[in-house]
Symmetry: none
Subunit: 336 residues, 2 copies
């Protein structure tokens, strides 16, 4: 990224743009200039005003100061730092309280209750209620607990009820839709360090069940990784393109359904080739054990469950990059 050298003070913005960026009407900006000399934009040969980034900054400051009740004439002559000081002096709105951390032995009970409420919302096909319940849960529990104590058991329970005929497919469908969109909102909303390694998560082509991948993405985000969730059903070329563009340290795949898809084997080999040897492959999901041969061949780590994924991700973050390069290199050279 450029260090923004074009952030110089040369006037560049027409008044319309300035108005949109500051939320002040053009008339008002001109009035402030005319009456109080609040800003001194440059002009073109045809007398059109052109504002610099600093001018915009100043107008924003002025707007905030004026909004605190002071008259424009009082502050129009002040320097930018003085304006900033005035804003600082203004009392800040009160902060919010944060929820108390639940006692450890209570967690199970609370989770169970939450799970039941989700279940009954699913039975009633009440999307809003279920979303609400999940939102509440996301405040009560840590990400890990939320995933492993609420979401996973919930989907398992719904699956069971469905197979028993107690729920229709539509109920399972709707519940997984809600969980999916909930997880989608969750995996992005972290605040990872910029130095954190990058993980790209998806499912291979023809793998349309994305719940596992979403759970993995959320788990990784909880472990402090920078996660890019790509959505399901992607051919190896696209996965590799994304991984390269994001300079991902690792790629996570979830394989759920057909335990014998020869094209998937090919796709996995191709993916390894496209990625090059320096990107780690993490593979999980119900059906992934059926592919253990290929996975070993291409040097992919097979993760049995989310807890295993969590451990692996944690270890990876704290290890030096060089190490796996060696691991993968060795496996690959064996392969040749």
């Amino acid at each position: 990224m450029s260090i923004t050298p074009p952030s110089s003070s040369e006037p560049r913005h027409p008044i319309g743009v300035v108005a949109r960026r500051t939320g002040l009407k053009p008339d008002l900006i001109r009035a402030w200039e005319r009456r109080y000399g609040a800003v001194a934009p440059g002009r073109t040969e045809t007398r059109r005003r052109f504002y610099s980034d600093e001018d915009i900054e100043r107008l924003l400051l002025l707007r905030r100061v004026v909004n605190t009740g002071r008259g424009i004439s009082q502050v129009a002559g002040l320097s930018n730092p003085e304006l900033a000081a005035l804003i600082e002096a203004e009392p800040a709105p009160a902060a919010y309280a944060q929820p108390s951390p639940a006692a450890p032995e209570e967690v199970d009970q609370v989770a169970e209750a939450c799970l039941n409420r989700c279940l009954s919302a699913a039975q009633r096909l009440d999307v809003g209620e279920m979303e609400l319940e999940l939102d509440r849960a996301s405040v009560l529990f840590s990400r890990t607990h939320l995933i492993e104590r609420v979401l996973v058991p919930l989907m398992r329970r719904i699956g069971e009820l469905w197979h028993q005929g107690a729920l229709r497919p539509i109920h399972e469908h709707m519940a997984s839709s809600v969980v999916r969109s909930f997880l989608g909102g969750m995996s992005g909303a972290g605040h990872p360090e910029l130095s954190a390694p990058h993980l790209v998560v998806t499912t291979p082509a023809r793998q349309r069940h994305e719940l596992g991948a979403l759970l993995a993405a959320a788990t990784a985000a909880g472990e402090g990784w920078q996660v890019t969730y790509l959505g399901p059903d992607l051919p190896p070329e696209e996965i590799a393109a994304a991984a390269l563009q994001k300079r991902a340290r690792a790629v996570g795949l979830s394989i759920t359904y057909p335990p014998d898809d020869p094209m998937l084997v090919d796709d996995l080999r191709r993916l390894r080739r496209l990625l090059g040897p320096h990107t780690l492959l993490l593979v999980g999901g119900r059906a992934c054990s059926a592919y253990s041969a290929v996975l070993q061949e291409i040097g992919a780590l097979r993760l049995e469950d989310l807890a295993a994924l969590r451990r692996e991700l944690h270890e990876l973050r704290t290890r030096t990059p060089g190490n796996f390069d060696n691991i993968v290199d060795n496996i690959l050279t064996d392969d040749r």
Copy 2:
């Protein structure tokens, strides 16, 4: 930016093609060249312009910059990176402080700027940034504007860029994934009156593109309906079960892809039979016109676009239930 290295710079495209690809009229492209030297295409011996891919890239950038309110004369001389920087630098509007109902003529510009930021987030595969931008947009715009001025144009634009090869499938895939999850969060978050009629939205079996259905669901929620979005790809039995359980006044379907699916025809007939005559069927989507015969046969309303859907939903809310029962009854009895 383009991941496709064969972005050759040899002039190849005549002005008509360039116009179609950039959305700029040929006259305008020539005017920009004549008056400001915005581009310098090659010429044949007979003085016909021939544009390179880079020229097209540049024109697209120029269009985006100009749409954010700058004069073409001010930016025509800038380099491509400088143009990209200007687009990047266009911040979210500072209109949060004041609940100004955004002057109607400004909406377009604000929407365009937002759209640009979403586009560049998609290009960078930056999921978090795109979600953030959509969240901001959801505060700035009404639901209708958000959908029809931001989301729909965004997906259309991304689709165009994808077909032109300027974006990889992965970019389109990721963007639609983000939009999907965003819409999923939106359609529930209404506060409909309890007396509002209920709408069940989904796509028929084998219809896996759910974007249209989600847009419809969000639109309906904006019109004050109680909406249950079921997710895509459902057989008629499940749709009917859900509609009956929710006592839905109407069922909305989106049909996007195969313009000739005989099983779909059967499914639609079956759905009507399962629903009984008192539930209205609303059908839209790119491919729905291909099924107009069946749709008429089963007494379904065909909606051309979201605006039509909006009008229809509005009218339905304000009409008495008895009326369509009659309408549907008539159609069905005709059919027997």
